[in-house]
C-alpha cells in the first residue's frame, strides 16, 4: 500500500494549467461556467453505464455519470451557452484509459448543430495543445471510417458478417454480441487504431441505433447527428445535436429500461424533471462531453490514466 500520489507534480501542474486554459477559452467566447448537483434523484438509463449510488435516510441518490440532464434544464430555463468541469462517476470502468471517477468537461452551444460544435471542439483542443498536434483534422462519417478501416459497411453488413469480419481481424470473442456490440468492438479496437497518431479524427453521423441523446435525421438510412473526437486512437469527446423532443426522449428512456430488463439490470428512476424541461422547450443546441484526464494524457504523451491523476482508483 502506498500513500504517495500516482502522478508526478509536473503533470499536476499541467492539469491546473489545462483547467485554466479551458476556462480562458470559454470566457473569451462568452460561455458561462455552471455547477450542477453531483447527487441526483434520477440516474442514467443507458444499460452500458453503471451509475453508482449513495444510500441516504430516505432512499438513495445517484452520482452523476455526466451533468447532461441538469445542464439541459438550465438551457430550457434560458441560461444560454454553458459549460461545466465536473468529476463524474461510472462503476466498473477501470483500466489504462478509464478511472471510475474522472473529470468531464461538458458544454452546450445554443443555435449550433453538431458540425459547428465539432469545429469548436477542434479549436479548443488546438488552443491547449499548440504544436503537439498535427495541423489539419480528418473528418469522416461513421460509415466512411468503418469502410476504410474495418472493411465493413455498418448499415449493410449482417450480424454474421460483422462477427466474421471481427474474427478475421483477430478478435476472438467470448459471449454473444448484438449488432451494435460488434460495431462498438470494431470501432474501439480496430478502427480507432488506424487513426493517424498526433492528429485529430472526427467521426459523425452514427447509426440511429447508437443515437443516445442525439437528434436522428430522417433518410435512408436515418442518421444520428452525433460525433466523436479522437486524438490518435484515444477517444476524447462525444457530442450531439441535442434531441429536444420530450416524447421521443421518453421513448428512448423506456427503450433503455427494456434493454436493462433484458440484461437483468434493475430499472433506473427516470429524470422526469428533464422530460418536463424538454416539454417546456429546449432551445436548438449542440452539446459535447470531453474527457479532461484523457486530454491531459495526450498532451503529456502518456498512455496510462494513472499518470495524470493525483490519486487513481486504487489509491483513492
Amino acid at each position: 500500500m502506498t500513500w504517495k500520489p500516482a502522478a508526478a507534480f509536473g503533470r499536476l501542474r499541467q492539469r491546473a494549467r489545462l483547467l485554466a486554459d479551458i476556462r480562458a477559452f470559454f470566457a473569451g467566447r462568452g460561455v458561462l461556467e455552471v455547477e450542477t448537483p453531483y447527487l441526483s434523484m434520477a440516474g442514467a438509463t443507458d444499460p452500458a453505464i453503471q451509475s453508482l449510488s449513495v444510500p441516504l435516510g430516505g432512499g438513495r441518490r445517484w452520482l452523476h455519470s455526466s451533468p447532461e440532464f441538469p445542464m439541459k434544464r438550465l438551457l430550457a430555463a434560458g441560461s444560454g451557452d454553458i459549460y461545466q468541469i465536473a468529476r463524474v462517476f461510472r462503476g466498473e470502468e477501470a483500466g489504462r484509459h478509464h478511472n471510475p471517477e474522472f473529470t468531464l468537461l461538458e458544454w452546450y452551444r445554443v443555435g449550433f448543430d453538431h458540425h459547428a460544435l465539432m469545429a469548436e471542439v477542434e479549436a479548443l483542443i488546438r488552443q491547449v495543445a499548440g504544436d503537439r498536434l498535427a495541423a489539419g483534422a480528418q473528418v469522416l462519417t461513421y460509415r466512411e471510417a468503418m469502410l476504410r478501416h474495418a472493411g465493413v459497411d455498418p448499415f449493410q453488413a449482417s450480424e454474421m458478417e460483422l462477427s466474421r469480419r471481427a474474427r478475421s481481424l483477430g478478435l476472438d470473442v467470448q459471449g454473444s454480441l448484438d449488432r451494435d456490440g460488434w460495431l462498438d468492438l470494431l470501432m474501439s479496437t480496430v478502427v480507432c487504431q488506424a487513426f493517424q497518431a498526433d492528429s485529430l479524427t472526427l467521426i459523425h453521423d452514427y447509426p440511429a441505433s447508437q443515437a443516445a441523446l442525439a437528434r436522428v435525421r430522417p433518410g435512408e438510412p436515418p442518421l444520428a447527428e452525433r460525433f466523436e473526437v479522437y486524438w490518435g486512437a484515444m477517444e476524447l469527446a462525444n457530442g450531439f445535436h441535442e434531441l429536444g423532443d420530450a416524447a421521443e426522449q421518453r421513448r428512448r428512456f423506456e427503450a433503455d429500461q427494456d434493454r436493462r430488463a433484458r440484461q437483468g439490470l434493475s430499472p433506473m428512476p427516470l429524470d422526469e424533471r428533464l422530460l418536463k424541461a424538454l416539454e417546456a422547450g429546449l432551445p436548438g443546441c449542440a452539446g459535447v462531453a470531453l474527457g479532461v484526464d484523457r486530454l491531459l494524457m495526450c498532451l503529456g504523451g502518456v498512455d496510462d490514466i494513472r499518470d495524470v491523476l493525483a490519486f487513481d482508483w486504487e489509491r483513492a
Binding site: 452500458a48 479496437t189 447508437q210 466523436e228 477517444e235 462525444n238
Partner: protein
Amino acid sequence: MATYSTNEFKSGLKILMDGDPCTIVENEFVKPGKGQAFSRVKIRNLKTGRVLDKTFKSGESVEAADVMDTEMQYLYNDGEFWHFMVPDNFEQYAAGETAVADAMKWLKEQDTCVVTLWNNSPLSVAPPNFVELTITQCDPGIRGDTATGGTKPATLETGAVVKVPLFVNEGDVIRVDTRSGEYVSRA
C-alpha cells in the same frame, strides 16, 4: 463451480478456456464512451505454453481453473516420473515428462521447486531461479586465457550443458541462472 466475472480479471488469474487451464497474462478494459464494454486479454495456456488473445464482453463469466503453485522438494526420478514432496505435510506428487519439460535439466535432488498443480496433479514445474551444480565433464582451460572472456561448454551433473569461462574446471561447482541457462559464478 467457481467462476470469475470479467471485472475480476487481472494478470495471474487462473481460468479454464476450452477445457484447458490458462493464466491471464494481460487484461485491458476497452469501452467506447457510449456503448458496449469489453475485456481484451492475453492468456497463456498452462498445458501448451501458447499465448492467445481473447475478447470478452464485459459481465461475461468464465470458469475458474483449480490451479495452485506449491513449493516442493524434488526427491528423485524413477525413470518415468519425477517425484516431489511438500515439505510441510510430506505429501508426494509424481510429475510426468510433459509437466517437468525443460525443468528436468536443472533438477537436483533436495532442491526446492515450484510445482503448479491443476486439479491436484502436477501441470508444470519451475526450477529454482539459481541452482548450484557440479561439472561432470569439460575440457581443461588454457592457462593465461582467463581475461579474454572466452567460453567453453561444460556438462553438469544433471545433464545440462552450459557455457562456462575457460578457468572453470571439471569437478567445480557452479551457479547457473535457470531462466537464461547462463553461468553466473563458481559456487
